[in-house]
């Protein structure tokens, strides 16, 4: 989310200056129409990741009786988050929280009060910064949809997602990108390894374990009903991720280009790594495998995209394709949690890996763009670890409490016969295919 400049990376707080006091930034920079064009597009691209990207990616992986319910989850979460983001989310994440600023922002910008078409964030309209950030707020709870398909109550999904946004996503965003305590420590998270992937991954694991497994897990669940849809969604995620990572440069410049480049290389390498391991282990590479590798590569490069170079992208891709694959099997067979679409193994693990690896790979010896002045690898790794651990802990605890409440008010899980018949018809009254 900050514009790393080669050799002397702007410290996080400086980047945030532009965000927190847009008037100031405006005075210094003025609106740049090229940057604005790119962030308008990036906003569209990141929304495209959720709708239809992620929605299709997930929908293809479930059984045919729960396709529409997955689409509904993603779509409804998008709508609910959008309204909440306008109401208070953006303000709590990105405005000044006064004495509590280390932990949470203020309410001055609730409903965008006082923000006009002339307000700037850096070189782009603040309204656009609001929109761009909103698309991140949308996709994060939508990622968690992969933890609970085929069996969750729709009301519980809505309640959980709304509260989770305000209690987990918004504060963590403030900590890391909004000038909170992690930002002050110097945590680096270019486009959301911590803010997006760690929060969603950990919470998914908590949700899945509290909800219980799908009927028949692990041996008798149905295989993905339509891998072609999953590949389609995956491709959209890949494209959209250019907006996610290169858009996080908040400018149309060389940094954006580098972020796009390493994002792409990591995705490609992780895909190949995943498929190769499958080929060796099972005798044939699968298309679901290769696209899952792609998502792992993308999640893992996310915190690092603005800090590493091409070779860093290759390394991140390679590591994520192997480690995340190993984790998908490990969670299922050892931990025996039915995180059905592997949200933790792919996003959570990827986000953690990337956040830690950036401490090495940002070094110029790896073609990286350098660490902050005066920071060594050890110092930096420590800061990153604090970031990951504290956010993981907060996500786990808060999710646990929210789910307990959801469970008490609405119940988490549908009746077994509704699960058998499928959520499409029982929760939404619709059938996914009528040929």
């Amino acid at each position: 989310m900050l514009t790393g400049k080669k050799n002397h990376v702007v410290p996080v707080l400086a980047g945030l200056g532009a965000i927190l006091w847009p008037g100031l930034a405006a005075a210094a920079d003025g609106l740049n129409s090229g940057d604005t064009a790119w962030i308008l597009v990036s906003t569209a691209l990141v929304l495209f990741m959720t709708l239809p990207g992620l929605a299709l990616f997930y929908a293809g992986l479930v059984r045919s009786g729960a396709v529409l319910s997955v689409l509904m989850h993603c779509f409804a979460i998008c709508c609910v988050v959008s309204v909440l983001w306008l109401a208070v989310g953006y303000s709590l994440a990105f405005s000044d929280g006064g004495y509590a600023n280390a932990f949470i922002g203020g309410l001055d910008k609730a409903f965008l009060a006082g923000v006009t078409t002339d307000s700037l964030s850096g070189t782009v309209p603040e309204l656009l910064f609001f929109m761009f950030q909103m698309t991140f707020a949308i996709i994060t709870p939508a990622l968690i949809v992969g933890a609970y398909p085929e069996r969750v109550k729709f009301s519980a999904v809505l309640f959980f997602s709304a509260v989770w946004l305000l209690v987990v996503y918004v504060p963590v965003t403030h900590w890391v990108w909004g000038g909170g305590w992690l930002a002050e420590m110097g945590v680096r998270d270019f486009a959301g390894g911590i803010v997006v992937h760690v929060t969603a991954g950990i919470s998914a694991l908590v949700f899945a374990s509290m909800l219980g497994s799908r009927r028949g897990f692990p041996d008798h669940v149905r295989p993905p009903h339509n891998p072609g849809i999953t590949v389609t969604g995956a491709a959209m995620l890949w494209i959209g991720w250019f907006g996610f990572n290169a858009g996080s440069a908040l400018a149309a410049d060389g940094n954006a280009a580098m972020a796009m480049l390493v994002t792409h290389i990591s995705a490609a390498t992780a895909s190949l790594a995943w498929a190769t391991v499958e080929w060796i282990k099972f005798g044939r590479p699968s298309v679901i495998g290769i696209v899952t590798g792609m998502v792992a590569g993308l999640a893992t490069i996310t915190p690092a995209a603005g800090f590493v170079g091409p070779v860093g992208g290759l390394i991140i891709g390679l590591v994520s394709g192997i480690v995340c694959q190993w984790m998908t099997a490990w969670i299922k067979h050892r931990i025996k949690i039915d995180d059905s679409l592997d949200v933790f193994a792919v996003h959570g693990v990827g986000g953690i890996l990337g956040t830690l690896m950036v401490s090495f790979l940002a070094l110029e010896s790896f073609q990286g763009l350098g660490l902050a002045e005066g920071m060594g690898v050890g110092d930096h790794l420590w800061v990153q670890t604090v970031g990951v651990v504290s956010v993981a802990a907060w996500s786990a605890v808060a999710s646990f409490v929210i789910i307990k409440i959801a469970s008490a008010i609405f119940g988490l899980r549908v009746a077994e016969e509704d699960e058998i018949e499928g959520l499409d018809i029982t929760a939404h009254g619709e059938r996914s295919y009528d040929f």
Partner: protein, 112 residues
């Protein structure tokens, strides 16, 4: 009249149709089915999870034939559908009491 019902491998459908045409059997009804038998299903692995597929795609062919044709029909199907590999399928024959052609109301062998 007899009803001959055969469960065969999907790609043998056309061969069976042609074999029957040569016997001047010009009608049949085909259904996509899933078969379970000696032929083993397979295991699909997605992201480290194994899914066992027990039922394999087969095609069921139903042909109503007059009594005098039935043996030749069974034989023709058998020949056309055989690959010699496990899973080639079965032919079953049962008695049929009545047949009617909806369009004309013809019954018996005329209806076929």
């Amino acid at each position: 009249m007899k009803m001959v019902m055969a469960v065969i491998k999907p790609h043998k459908m056309d061969a069976v149709r042609e074999a029957l045409s040569e016997l001047a059997v010009n009608g049949m009804t085909a259904t996509e089915v899933k078969g379970y038998g000696r032929q083993r299903g397979h295991t699909e692995i997605y992201r480290g999870a194994e899914y066992t597929v027990n039922f394999l795609p087969k095609v069921k062919v139903e042909v109503a034939v007059s009594d005098d044709l039935v043996d030749r029909v069974v034989e023709a199907i058998q020949e056309a559908a055989r690959t010699g590999k496990i899973g080639d399928g079965k032919v079953f024959v049962y008695d049929m009491g009545k047949a009617v052609r909806i369009r004309t109301g013809e019954t018996g062998d005329d209806a076929l």
